[in-house]
Each structure stands twice: as structure tokens, then as C-alpha cells.
Assembly symmetry: C3
């Protein structure tokens, strides 16, 4: 990569000669720390985009001390106080990338500073402890463990990412590899980032050492960080502007919640809420804290319903902020064969049903209750969610809406069960090899059709009901697709039989 | 829902003690009626979002009398005059929700006022009679009747929404239920909203009675309202801002016109028109009445081509506003097996073909002409549509464009016919049970594939042609999918035969 | 089209009487040429939208002479100078539509002027020669030839667009027609526009003659123009505002790059880059030349990575502008069965593999190296692309990212190969008729499934890797779909066998 090496050579030589003073008068604000100033000295040349981006952030504009002076309802910092060393300067490169260095095995010497690449939730907790604590109870925070430590999902990962072979008339299944997994499932779920060595490289600044990170880059929401913490705040609060506006816009959630397996954004985009947002959100204030319904926005985004603190123009709080998104969710409506009450623990890999599968329901749909929240907890969460709706909607509207969600959960679970019965019949007749044979239950064509029955069509239908997504509950991977897939599985059973010698009638 | 009950108790008690005067100085404009003022007194606390939303509307800012003073080409009110009681105050809660109460079986006593929940087109017609009258001639206005009263569609609804069962090796078909239908097809088509009882509820204001509405909530375009009227203006003119900007943006139409069955918005979004709109519409004036091509917008949205009045900078009218969208549509290119001239009547459930199906064409594609508009009427509508195009395009451009649409209608109809011939063969051989057997013709897998041939792929191709949607006429559910689906149906016929004992060769 | 004829009659009569002077004081700027002024005289009435659109363009606001005065890094004109006739007035109707008339067989006499309809890259090269020259080396520029002159693609066009027939139990394949092709593949690839006659029409101005253009309208990127040139600048620089803002926004590329065959925009829209763009690009300056990373934009659009000149706030150029998009692309990751190094020549129809197919790889994936760029050239292009990334990302981030792309190319090619082996088996057993039989290899159902393996699922996966598109590499036409399609092809082979009489077992 010769060009990258040479690009800034002259400029950087000047910097080294003059010191960072050269830049401090130019791009850096008064309260920037000396250490950060030094970072910027080179990085405004080496990675200019992220320096400019950061300069548009609140981190750059407001010091923690100034932040702490705000009324609690307007405050962005949840810590009661911050240490003296951090209080007076703005939050810059050094403040995050040099923090907690003793706890960071990825810390390394870099031009006279000890820095780490992977800023983790444990670092962010210095100023934002409530958010980090709440987030840790999210299903999302354990997105890595819940996927990778569940044997059935391991089968599904192999099946999806594997390099299968058609050889001598038979299909042979092969496993996946780390590069593909990091690029596939784990791009959203998060990778396992560890130090795996040190690399010496020629740079514009001469020879330098850098720790080598495994499975990097990654911003997955359940990332395992080198410092032992879990999660990545930057999944939703993008580096280095960390804009609340971006986090509150639905495009952030769409990064991982748009595919056929979890079409939340698609559904939102055709809902009346999504229409209003796209049509007139230029008039909204996405940065206001607190966030006032009607004044700052006229229709919810994902954040409004699932995370943000919402107040009315009288200053009354409709619903409290929570980064534990489960707080407003009684049901888990996607990701598993059957919708079911939310799991108690964020790490779901320890859930086991009677059949030994790590599923929160039996294969026939009955919930495995001891791992799931109680009816009382469900009711409490339902109240939280309805408090958001009540910003604009009447009691009868809200109750009518959620009655449909209950029905949608019931009917989609029913339609998954029928697909399960067909699959079980295929296994019983030896037309496919799955659980009874101790084989991967999700790699043959009829098995993959079964997966789509719930992962695509059940999910899509339930999301459409929950968020008013019209066609996503009908023709766009909705009820129509559920019926069609079921009928095709039924015929498939017959086609598979017809290929079995000797043909039995 | 304890929280909702308690949330505002203290505040509402204060309101009751002080009367609505408490609020009138604060959030309410001078010309708001006393009745509306009283509504706001509580509802700025109970449903603050919709109060704020309304305060951003023209309804809040301009009284009917002021509206009537505008030049006719700028006027939003189509009534010649309004009654004295309505003329001087702005249009607020009371003006709509207390209007025509004698005609509203859903009217009820509410804190000393007689109000109704479901404001209907008959209410809106007080100020907007032309729009309501025109809209009634739209296919959309009869979206409920045309769907629910057509026996073939009834089969399709059952098939789509039904709770089918795989039992003892056979597939049993079951019908649907009202909650599912309201959440599925009828979320766009509209539900049948009736008074089905009265509910007494504990509220923040003490015990209150509310009429119970069936199939509520709903904003479907063909909704049957308790007052006997049909339709919902709020499908496109969202409560309570009723913003013309929202109605003119394509995201409104996308609510119901984005799925694979009617991918109008998808097609628009990849058209050159849609590109320009997304790229630079921040510079457009979506609120201008009249709407000037080139000055207020540089590319059409859905509304430009199908509804709005368009003028040029000389003030000349290119095309008149019409809420009877059919006025510019010679062909009906979606929803039925074959594209055909538009039906004469908005309620199409009375159309019957020679085979007894309630289809506007025979099963083999020939139009059932007596229910359809004449060539003369088609020509007239074509002229209306071309008048819009002529704002930017030359004669040869326009003629070349529509020659392709004629061909696209011809070829997609041809490809549907081939699928119909395969399906008929399946029925003839008893490989599926449909019309010849007097059974549901759209519930078995091969039948559902037939439906997708026209409902998805024929539609998508025609929309792509009509609106310049490139890949939606090729690989994105377009001609490619038509061919692939046809070939698969052809093989399916053979696969079904192979499962029939004894195997005949 | 009576209305179009009559609409402006009175107004145009006035114009003819008063001359164009009538308008020049009103809508036309000082420096507009007399000829353009005359055009506007009528066209502000006949096609008012494009006149207004042009008036918002830089062409209208800045004369070439003024443009040439800018510093080279800010300059939009790449010509060193322009001829005297063009230099002093703004670039209006006459300047483009009357240019090079001797070379334009589509030139015709029009109200006393000699004009041509189809302005071509050869015309644009008068002021923008560098861009036109670079563009000519793009694969895109030869989009027509590379598609239409490749016999295998000819099969695919027939298969996609053809009017197939199911007759007497057999499927008969029929070819396509020019109207359908222009509306399908060629809407993006470009049509062959020729003069095919002259038409005399009654207009508002009396009887007039117009040359008839074949396959018109069209703005496809590889269009064959009447003047013998190739391409259409207006594909991305839309008439008549020619806004750099539009070209730099991703919606322009989405016109042709959004379908399942080339889901670049879809992938972008769920990437972190796309999220940031949609969330905060209202704060960006899409018109700045040069374009400064961090200051003018905070995340790339398509143009940033593939075309634009990018500078940093110090004025240093990260990467040079190029309309030869290949300059930054070592690999060609879509359109062909296997990803492979970029072809050397833009017209790929002359490439032939050992098997006689006009493919840049063998049917089993090995690259046909003599037609493809060398490793050295690939490395050079990789350096160019990484220079863009380095605006915000570190060395390790970039290297980690591209290591995944290498792996993704390897695994998707592997999965295509397995599908090819199944298809070859089907051909060998006579279960389908393709290459061994000298028949169309892409028209039967199992063949079409093979095409989707690479055209949809391989492409989608690679795009997702290249641009961080999460689910488009997994469930949204990604690796999941690759596996499922492969398993279905495997079963399909067995189903086809079961239909063959006599049934052998």
C-alpha cells in the first residue's frame, strides 16, 4: 500500500518538526486536552474524516463539567460526577482511547502515548453508567453468546455460511470459516475481538508496532471486546460524531433490522408512522433532550417506542428513557420458531427445552416457562409500551391494536406448528435427516423451508401487526407467504417420496 | 392499564377545578371555538401529540372564512360557503368530532359534549364537497366492497389468512377470523366499523361511557363508517395535521402501494423521477396551491401524475385537480389476472364473466366489455395523463413511452395466459382441485404460483413500464420472474403427476 | 392528442406575433444567447418544466468563460478553452441542441433552427473532454455491446423477455421484441437510437416535421446515439439541471443498481455509511468542488468511493476524480457466473473462454486471463480504493475489511461452482437441455435456478461484503439463499429424474 504510506509524508514531517502546536491554533478548540491535541496533530492528516466528524460532536463542544450543570431531564451524562482529569477538557481522542489502559490488553505504545483501539462500553460507562448498565440486560448485549453458544444455531451458521460440495451425485456439508462468519452473522451479532499478535509496519512516521486484533473490524452490538466487556455502543452511536440524531433515526436500527428475518425497518417504512417521519421530519428536532411529543416530533421512530424518554409540552414524562429495550417488550416476536414471552436472561444459550434443544419453546410451540418472564412482568412491560402510544392514541385504539397482536402471535405460531408437523413427518419417513437421526436439522431443502416459515414469514407478519406494516403481513413475506410455503412443503413431502426407490404406493 | 389511568390525575384535577381557561391562554389561538377549547383543556394532557400536531395544521391557522377569501386557484375549500357556526372559528376538535351528530350512530355524551370518534368523508364534505364527491367514484372508495363481496377474492382471503392444518398426512383448509382480516387485507382496504356496544371505563376523569367500535382502529381507504359513508380521508391526509405536503409525498401512497402485489412506490423509487425527488426535493415547495411545474417541483410524485392540479409559471393549467384518480387512467394494470380497460363502476363486485367468476376478464383474458370503459373514454383519460407528461416531455417521448406500456400489457397478459393454461391442465388431470371441481381455486401450491404470475410479476412488470422502473420489469419480480415461475409451474405439473399412483407413462 | 395540441394555442400565437422578446425580459438571464432565447420563447409554454429546471442549473448561471477562470481544483470544465461562439453566453438549449450539427444525422429544421434531439457525449466533450474520455473506458460505456453481442446473454434476453407458450403439454420458447427489450434490459444498458423516418405532425405552431427515432426514449448508460457516439451522460446527470448534487447522491446509482442482480444501493442503504448519509446528509454540501471529507460529508456515497475527487481540509488530494470507475476496482464482482479480475477492454463481447462461451471465466470458474487485468493492475486499483477508505479508517481496519472481500469472492465462486456441477449433471442425464445439446442454457427451471445462484445470491453476498451490508450477505439474498438454492437444485435433480419414463431404480 505504497500510496497510503507516501501520501502525507511531507506534511507529517512538518508536523514532527513543528510539533502539534502547528495545528492547535487551526482546528482545535480551547478546551481540548494536550494529549488529544497531539493526536489531532497527525490524525487530521492521516484520518481527516474522523477528526472533522468528531469536531461536529457534543463531545467536542461540551466538557463533562458543563454537561453536569444541566437539569437532570436535559442531561446527557448519567454519572454523578467525573474524575478531575476528565472534567475540564472536552472528550477527545485521548480521553477515550487512553482511558482505563490498565484494563486494556489492546493498549500499546504509540508515539509516546499508551492507547487502545477498541473503546468499549466499560470505557463509555465513565460518563454514561446508567446506559451501559441498562444495555447489559438487553438481549442485544448477549447477541454473540446467544448465537454462538446455542448448538442449534451453530447448525444454522454452518448451513448458511458453509462451503458445501456436490460430489459424485451427493451433497456434502462443510463448515464455515472465521472470515465468513465475521462478515455474515457476526457483522450484526458482534465478533470476538482479541489480541493475536503484534505487527511492525512502515508508516509515514517511520517503523511502528501495532497490536493485531482478531475479527476486526467489527461494530456488532454484542461484540466481545479485548478488555473483557461485551457490546459496542458504536453500533448505534456511530463514531466519531456520536450523534443522538442518528441514533434516534430509524436508519440506524435498519442496519441490522431490515432483512427478511427481522424486517422491522421495512414494516416501519410503510406504516403511517414511517410515512409521516419520512415526509416531514425535516421539521422535527431530533436533538432535543428531553424529547417532546407533538413539538419535537409528530410520529414515533424506533427510538421513541423502544428507548427514548418522552415528555409532553407540560413537561410531564410519558415514559422514562431505557437502554434496556426489553422494558417495553412483553413478547419476543422474532428469531425463534415460535413467538413467546421474553426470556429472563439476556444470554439465552442456557435455555433448554424438554427435547434438549436450546429453544425457549418446545418444538411444538409450548413455552419453556422457567426461562421466560411471568405474566405479571409482561403486563408491566405492556403498560410501559402503551404509555408511549397514549401520547397520541386513545384507550380503545390502543387496546384494539394490541388485541390484533395477540391474535397475530397465535395464528403465526399455529402456522409454524403446521410446518413443524410436515417436517417431522419428513424426518419420520427418512425423507430428510434431522433431529431423530441426530443430524443437522436445518440444512436440507425442506428443512430450510421450515426455517423460512418462522424466520421470515412468521416474523414479518408479527412485525407488520405490531407496527402497522400493512403488506408485510400479507403479500410481502406475510400471511400469503406462510400459506404458500406451507402448501409447498406439503407437496415437497410427496415429491421427496416419489424419488425414493422402490416407489411405494 | 393502571399507569395510563393515573398518569395525568393531578393535572386533570387542576383542569377541572380551574376550567379550560387554564389552558386557553397557553396553547390555543384566538379564534379557537369554545367547544374546541374545552376539548384541548383535557386532551393536551391526555393525548398531547395530536393536539400539537393539529396546531401545526392549516385547520388551526386559517378559518373557513379566511380560506374562502382566496382566489379560486389557490383555495383549499371547495364549498361555496360554510354555515355561520363554522365560518369564524378555526377548524378544531369540536368542529369535526361534533359535526352532523344526528347522522352519527357513534355519537356519545362525553364530558357534556356530544361527540363521535369516526370523522367520515360525509363530515369532511362540509368544506371539501368536490373532493369527497370525486373520491367516491374512485376504485379505492369501494375497496371494501370490491374485495369482500367478490366470491373469488373471498377464497383468496381464506387462503391467505386462514389457519390451515396438516393432519394425518393431509392438508385441511380453515377460514380466517375478523381480527386477522382487519390486520391483513382490510388494513388497506378498510374495515366495517360499527357500534357494537357500550363500555364503561374508569378514567382519570372518573367513570365514563364509550361506544365500542368493531374492527377498530382502521384508516383503510374504503372503510365502512358508522354513519353509513364509505372511505377514510385520513388514509392519505393523516390526522391531525392533514398536511398537503404529506399527501403529495410518495411515502403516503407507499403505505399500501409498495408490496409485491402493487409495487408502485418501489418502481417510483428507482425511476429517474423518484431519484430526482429523493435527491433535491428539499428545494421544492410541497405546500404551494396551485402547484407549478419546474418552479415548485422538478419531477413528479404520485400526486402530480394521478391527482394534483398542475400549472406552469404562466399560470396556465396543465391538468385539473381530481380526487377521482381514474380520470387519468385508461388501463387497470394491477389486482386482476389480466390488465384491462378500467371498470365503469367503482364497486366491481357485480362484474361477472361468462364463467361466472367476478372478474373483469374471462379466465383466458378477454375483457368483459360491458362492465368496462369504452375506447373513447380510454382515449380521454390518456389525454389527461399525457397533459401531465407534457410539462417536461415532448410528443415523441410521450408516444414512445406509452407504446411500450401497450406492449407490456399485451406481453404480461400473454404470460399470465400461459400460466392459466398450465393450471387448467392441472385441474383437468385432477392434480389440483379448483374451478372444475367447485373447490377453492387459489389455495394449493400450484394455484398460488398461478396467482403470483399475475399478482406479483405481471403487476410489477407493468408498473415498471408505466413509471420507468427499470429492474422491476426485469429481475426484481419482473419478466425474469414471470419466465421462471412459468417454467417452474410446467415442471410442477410433472412432479405432481409423478406422485399420483399408479404412475402412468 | 387533441388537448396537447390546443393547450397553448392562444399563448403561442401571441409569442409568434410579438416574437421571443415577449419572454426575454421575464424568465431569461442577461447572458442567454439569442438562439436559446428563441427556444425558450416557445418552450417555456410547451415544456415549461424543463425550462425551469435548466434555470436552476450551473449551465444557466455560469458562462464557460467564467467557469474557466476558476482554480483548476474547483473547475467544472475540463477543456482548456472553448470556442468563441460558446464562451460568452450561458449554456442553454441552443448551445447543446445545435452543436456539431454536421455530425448529427438527427439534426432537423425546426422553426428556422437546425437542432438535434439526442445530445450525446460527443457534444458534452466540447467542455468536458476529460470526463467523456475517461467514461469511454468504463464497462458501463459498452453496456449495450457487451450485452447484445454476447450469444449467451442473447439466450438470457430471449429467456427473460420472450413470449413463451404452453401448448399441447409442452413449453415452446419464443424470442423477444424491440419494444420489450427497450423497456427491459436496455432501459439501463441503453438502446440503439437511429433515425428511421420523418413524421409530419400538426402542432400548436402549425404543421411541422420531426425525425423519428428508433427505441426512443432512452437514457441508458451505454446508449448508441445517432451521431455514432456511445453512452448517455444524462443517465447520471439528469436533464436539464445537470446537478452535481443529484449525481453524487446514491439514488442516482440506485436507478440501475438496486435489483436482486446488482443490489448495490440496497446494501449501501443498510450499511453504516448509508445510515449516516440518510440521517444527517442535510448538513452536507453535495455541491462543493473540491469535495472535502469530514467537512462536506461524513460518510461516503457511491460517488465518493467510485468517482469523485476527495480532498482533506488541508487541501491535500486523497484520490483524483475519475469517470473511469474501473480505476478503483480490481475485481468485477457482479454480472457473470464467477467474480474475476476486471476485463481489460470495456466491450467484453469479444471475450471467449475455452468452451466457446463469451464468458471471462471457464464454466468451472477459472479466469480467462488474457482478457483480464494483471495482478499488478489489480494492486494499483486496490491502492486507489484504499486511499478513499483512509480518509476515515486505519490501515488495520482497511486490510481486515478487504481480507473479507477476498474470502467472499472465493466462497461465493465455490458455491456457484457447486450449482454448475448440479446443472452439468442435469444436462448429462438429459434432464434439461443446454450446452451439450446446443440448446439455450438458461431457459428451463433448473437452469434459471443456476443463474440466480450467481446473478442474485453470489452478487448480493459480495456486495454486502464490499460495502458492509450485513443481511444482504446473510438472509436477504445472501449466503442463506445460496445454500437454500443449492439444496433445492439438488432435490430438483431428483424430482426431474422421477418424472422420466421409464422410471429406473
Amino acid at each position: 500500500m505504497k500510496t497510503l504510506l507516501c501520501r502525507h509524508k511531507i506534511l507529517l514531517t512538518i508536523i514532527l518538526l513543528l510539533g502539534s502546536v502547528f495545528f492547535s491554533g487551526q482546528v482545535v478548540a480551547a478546551e481540548v486536552s494536550e494529549d488529544t491535541d497531539a493526536c489531532i496533530g497527525c490524525h487530521s492528516v492521516v484520518t481527516p474524516g474522523i477528526v472533522s466528524d468528531w469536531q461536529k460532536s457534543l463531545h467536542y463542544k461540551v466538557s463533562p463539567t458543563e454537561g453536569l450543570l444541566k437539569d437532570s431531564i436535559e442531561r446527557r451524562i448519567s454519572a454523578e460526577s467525573v474524575s478531575e482529569g476528565l472534567a475540564e477538557t472536552v472528550v477527545g481522542c485521548a480521553e477515550c482511547h487512553m482511558m482505563n489502559s490498565g484494563k486494556h490488553p489492546d493498549s500499546f505504545e504509540h508515539n509516546g502515548f499508551t492507547i487502545h483501539t477498541v473503546v468499549s462500553p466499560a470505557d463509555c460507562a465513565t460518563c454514561h453508567p446508567t446506559e451501559v448498565t441498562e444495555f447489559a440486560d438487553n438481549l442485544m448485549a448477549e447477541a454473540y453468546a446467544s448465537l454462538m453458544n446455542n448448538p442449534t444455531y451453530a447448525h444454522m451458521i454452518d448451513s448458511t455460511n458453509g462451503n458445501h460440495e456436490f460430489d459424485e451425485g451427493a451433497m456434502n456439508f462443510h463448515g464455515s470459516d472465521p472470515l465468513t462468519e465475521a462478515d455474515s452473522c457476526l457483522s450484526c451479532h458482534g465478533t470476538d475481538v482479541k489480541i493475536i499478535g503484534v505487527e511492525t509496519r512502515e508508516t509515514d512516521m517511520g517503523e511502528m508496532n501495532f497490536p493485531q486484533l482478531s475479527n476486526w473490524p467489527n461494530s456488532g452490538v454484542g461484540r466481545l471486546n479485548p478488555d473483557g466487556s461485551v457490546g459496542a455502543c458504536s453500533s448505534c452511536h456511530m463514531r466519531h460524531q456520536f450523534s443522538i440524531e442518528v441514533a434516534r433515526k430509524p436508519y440506524t436500527c435498519a442496519q441490522c433490522h431490515k432483512g427478511p428475518d427481522v424486517p422491522a425497518y421495512k414494516v416501519y417504512s410503510v406504516s403511517m408512522h414511517g410515512n409521516i417521519q419520512k415526509s416531514v421530519d425535516k421539521n422535527w428536532d431530533y436533538k432535543a433532550v428531553p424529547w417532546t411529543v407533538g413539538k419535537d416530533f409528530n410520529a414515533p421512530t424506533c427510538a421513541v417506542c423502544h428507548a427514548s424518554e418522552i415528555v409532553d409540552e407540560n413537561g410531564e414524562v410519558l415514559v422514562k428513557r431505557s437502554h434496556r429495550f426489553n422494558d417495553r417488550l412483553p413478547w419476543r416476536i422474532f428469531g425463534l420458531p415460535y413467538a413467546h414471552p421474553h426470556p429472563i436472561e439476556a444470554d439465552t444459550s442456557n435455555i433448554v427445552n424438554k427435547g434438549g434443544l436450546h429453544f425457549p419453546t418446545e418444538l411444538t410451540g409450548e413455552p419453556v416457562s422457567k426461562f421466560l418472564i411471568s405474566q405479571e412482568e409482561m403486563d408491566k412491560r405492556q403498560v410501559n409500551m402503551e404509555a408511549v402510544c397514549s401520547g397520541c392514541h386513545s384507550y380503545q385504539w390502543i387496546k384494539g391494536h394490541f388485541a390484533r397482536l395477540d391474535k397475530s402471535i397465535e395464528t403465526t405460531n399455529h402456522m409454524t406448528l403446521q410446518a413443524t408437523k410436515i417436517l417431522s413427518q419428513a424426518w419420520a419417513e427418512g425423507l430428510a435427516e434431522g433431529i431423530p437421526q441426530g443430524e443437522n436439522p436445518v440444512n436440507e431443502a425442506i428443512e430450510l423451508k421450515w426455517v423460512e416459515q418462522w424466520l421470515f414469514f412468521g416474523n414479518s407478519t408479527r412485525f407488520a401487526t405490531a407496527m402497522g406494516g400493512a403488506d408485510y403481513g400479507v403479500f410481502a413475506d406475510g400471511r400469503w407467504s406462510q400459506t404458500k410455503n406451507l402448501q409447498e412443503m406439503y407437496d415437497y413431502l410427496k415429491f421427496l417420496r416419489a424419488t425414493k426407490p422402490p416407489l411405494k404406493n
